[in-house]
Symmetry: none
Subunit: 215 residues, 4 copies
DNA sequence: AATGAATGAGGATTCATTCAT
DNA sequence: AATGAATGAATCCTCATTCAT
C-alpha cells in the first residue's frame, strides 16, 4: 500500500483515468459508427448513440463537444483505419517490387476492397453519409478523399515513371480509380451480384489497365 | 346561362384546371430544383421552395403531398430529362451506325456529360442529395440509377455482340461506367481542373476502352 | 359583395390581416408582460408566455424571432408608454409655465410615479428584470435609461437656466433623480409604508429641492 | 501508535479539519465572487467557480449545498464586509462627535462609496445580480438591504434628534440615501463621468442636505 | 476530502403539416 | 385554389447535482 509516494499514486491514477477516458471514446465511436451507418447523420439522434453506447445522452457531451464533432471524429477514425490498412498492405508487398501487374497498384486496390469488405459500415460513413453534413463538412470530407487519392496518385505516378502505364492526367486518373472503388464498394451494400470482393478488385484493375477493346 | 351543358362545362373546366395544375407543378418543381440543389434536401424548407416559386408555402401541399413526395417527383423529372437526352443523342447517331469507336458508346458518354454540364443542379440532386433521404429513398434512387445503367448496358451489350469489346460482366461494366461519369461530373462541381467536359468524356471513353497499359 | 374590385378586396383583406397581426403581437406582449413581471426573464419559458397568451408555443415564433427579441420588444413598448405619459403630463402643465415649484420638475416626477403606480409590472420589467439579460441587453437598457435621464436633464437644465436651482453636474443630478424614482417605485412593490404615491413623489421633489438641513 | 488517546486525536483532527474547511470555504467564496461578478449568477456555472478556485467542481458540494446556497453565503459575506467597514469608519469618527456637517452622515456615505470603490465586484453582486435570483432570494436580499438602511436610519435619526436635519420619514429617507449610493456606485461600473468617488460621495451628501434650490 | 464521470430534467427553437378563411 | 396563421413533435445542448472510487 505505501511504498508508492503520493505523487506517484496520483499520477498513476490519472494515467488510468486517461486510458479509461480513451476507452470510453472508443466505445462511443463504435456505437456511433453502428447507428450512423444504419440511420445516417440526420436520422440519428444523440440519444440513439447514447443508447447504443450504453450511456445517458448527457454523457456523450463529456467526450465530444457536439453531434457534429462526434461525426468528424468518427470520419477521422475511419480514414486513419483505411489508410493504415492500405499502407500496411503496400509495405508488405513492397519487398517483391517487380513488374507492375502483380505489384503496388493491384495490391492497393485489393487492400482497399478488403478493408471495405470487412467493414461495411465504414463504406456507408465515408461515401454516403458524409454528404449529409453538406458544406460544413465538405472541406473535411474533401480532405479525406483527397488524401486517399494522393496515395493512389503516388502509386500511379511511380508506375508511369517506370513506363508501365501510359502518360496522362494522373490526378484525374487517381480520382477515377478512387471513384470506381468507392462506388463499387457502395454497390455491394445493396446489390448482390454474386461476385467475390477479390474478383471485383481484379475487375477494376483489369479494366483500368487493359480496357475493353480487344488487343 | 351558357349553351353548353353543365357536364361539358365541368369537364372543360377540369381539363383547364388540370392543365393549370400541371403548369403549377412544373413551376414548383423548377423552383424546388434550384433551392434543393443549393441547400440540399435537409437544408431546404418548404417555405424556401414556396418563396422561390412565388407561392405561399401552404399552397405547395395542394400540388404535392409532402416534402418527400416533392423530392421524389423532382428526381423522376430529372431522370426523365436525362434519359430523354441520351436517347435523343443515340437516335441521332444511330443512323450512321458504323464501327464502335466513334459510335454509340462514345456518344452516350458524351451526351451524359453534356447533359450534366448544362445542368449542374441535376448533378447534385441525382448523385448527392439523393442519399440524404436514406433508406426511405434508396429504392427509388436505385431504380433511377439502374435504369440509367440499363441503357448503358444495352449499348455495351451491343458492342460486345459485334465483337468490338471483350467479353465480361456487362452489368458491372455498365455500373462502373455510370459510376465514373457520375463521380467525375460531381467532381466538376467543386474542383476545377481546367479540363473541358468533352475532354473528360473522352478520357472516360479512352480509359474504358484502352486502359492504361501501353499497347 | 361584388362592387368591390378584386384588387381592392385583396388589399382590404391584407389590411385586416395586418391589423390582426398587430393585435396578436399586442396580445402576446401583454401576456409576456404578466409572466415576465411575475417570474423574471430567466424564470419564464416561451411555453409560459404562450399559455398566458392562449397560443401554442410554436406560434410565438411567428410573431417574434426569439425569446430575447420578445423581451426587447416588450422593453421598448414599456419605455414608449412611460415617455409618452411623461410627455403628455408635461405638455398639459406647460401652459401655466410659472415658477419652478409647481412646474415641470415636480410634474415630471409626479407623472413618473403615477405611471409606475398604475403599472407595477412595468416597474419590475424596467428596473429589475432588465438586468437579467446581462451584457447582451445592457446597451439597450442603457439606452432606455439614458433617454429617461435625458428628459429629466432637459427639465433640470431649464430650471438651472432660470436660476431656479443651483449650478451643478446636471447629468449626475438627473441620474440621481431617476435612480431615486426607480428605486422608490421598486420599493413600493414589496414594502408597504402606508404612503400614497403622490406623497412619495412630493418627498422626492422636496428632498431634491430643499434637502434635509433646516433653513 | 500514538501516545494520544484516540478520542483526543479525533477531536483534534476535527478541529483542524473545521479550520481547513473554513479556509476552503473562503477560497471558494473568493473565487465565486470573481466569476459571479464577471458573468452574473445565471451566466456562471459551478464548473466556472471550481476552476477559479482551483478545485474540481464536485468538491464545491462538499462545502456548499447548492449553487444557490453558495450565492447566499457570498451575499452574506459581502454584507458583513460592508457593514464592518462602515462601522469601523463611524467608530473612528465618533470620537470627535461634533456638528453634523463633517460628521457621521457624511462619513457613512463616504465610507460606503470607499468600500464600493475598492470592491467593484461587490457592487455588482449586491445591487445587480442579486435580482437574478428572483423571489427565492428576495427575502434574503431584502434583509441585507434593510440592515444597511437600518444603519443609515440610525445615523439620520440621531442627526434629527440633534436638530441637525429636519423632521421627516426617516425610513424613507434612509432608503433614499441607500438607493442613491447604490445606483451611483453601480453607474460607476459602466459610465465614466470623470468624477472621483469622493466627489460623488460629497455630491450625494450635499444634495441630500441642501437640495438644489438656491438659499 | 477530493475527484470527475454520469445522469437527466429542462428549454429554446425549427419546421413539416393542417386548416379555417 | 390560395393563403398564412397555428400547431406541436422532435432534438440538441447545458448544467446542477449525485455518486462510485
Amino acid at each position: 500500500m505505501p511504498a508508492v509516494p503520493a505523487g506517484r499514486t496520483r499520477a498513476l491514477r490519472r494515467a488510468v483515468s486517461d486510458e479509461e477516458k480513451s476507452q470510453r471514446r472508443e466505445q462511443i465511436l463504435a456505437a456511433a459508427k453502428r447507428v450512423f451507418a444504419r440511420n445516417g447523420f440526420q436520422g440519428t439522434t444523440i440519444a440513439d448513440v447514447a443508447r447504443a453506447a450504453g450511456l445517458s445522452y448527457g454523457s456523450i457531451y463529456w467526450y465530444f463537444d457536439s453531434k457534429e464533432a462526434l461525426f468528424h471524429a468518427l470520419m477521422e477514425h475511419q480514414e486513419a483505419a483505411l489508410r493504415d490498412h492500405i499502407a500496411d498492405v503496400l509495405e508488405a508487398t513492397a519487398t517483391d517490387g517487380e513488374g507492375f501487374g502483380p505489384s503496388a497498384f493491384r495490391e492497393a486496390v485489393r487492400a482497399t476492397f478488403e478493408f471495405f469488405e470487412s467493414d461495411k459500415a465504414a463504406v456507408r460513413l465515408l461515401f454516403r453519409d458524409s454528404y449529409a453534413l453538406g458544406d460544413r463538412f465538405e472541406r473535411h470530407l474533401h480532405g479525406i478523399y483527397e488524401r486517399f487519392i494522393d496515395d493512389l496518385e503516388a502509386v500511379l505516378g511511380e508506375a508511369q515513371a517506370r513506363g508501365e502505364i501510359v502518360e496522362g492526367p494522373t490526378r484525374l486518373l487517381a480520382f477515377s480509380v478512387a471513384a470506381l472503388i468507392a462506388q463499387l464498394a457502395l454497390r455491394r451494400l445493396t446489390t448482390d451480384d454474386g461476385l467475390d470482393a477479390g474478383v471485383v478488385a481484379d475487375f477494376v484493375v483489369s479494366l483500368t489497365l487493359d480496357g475493353l477493346r480487344p488487343r
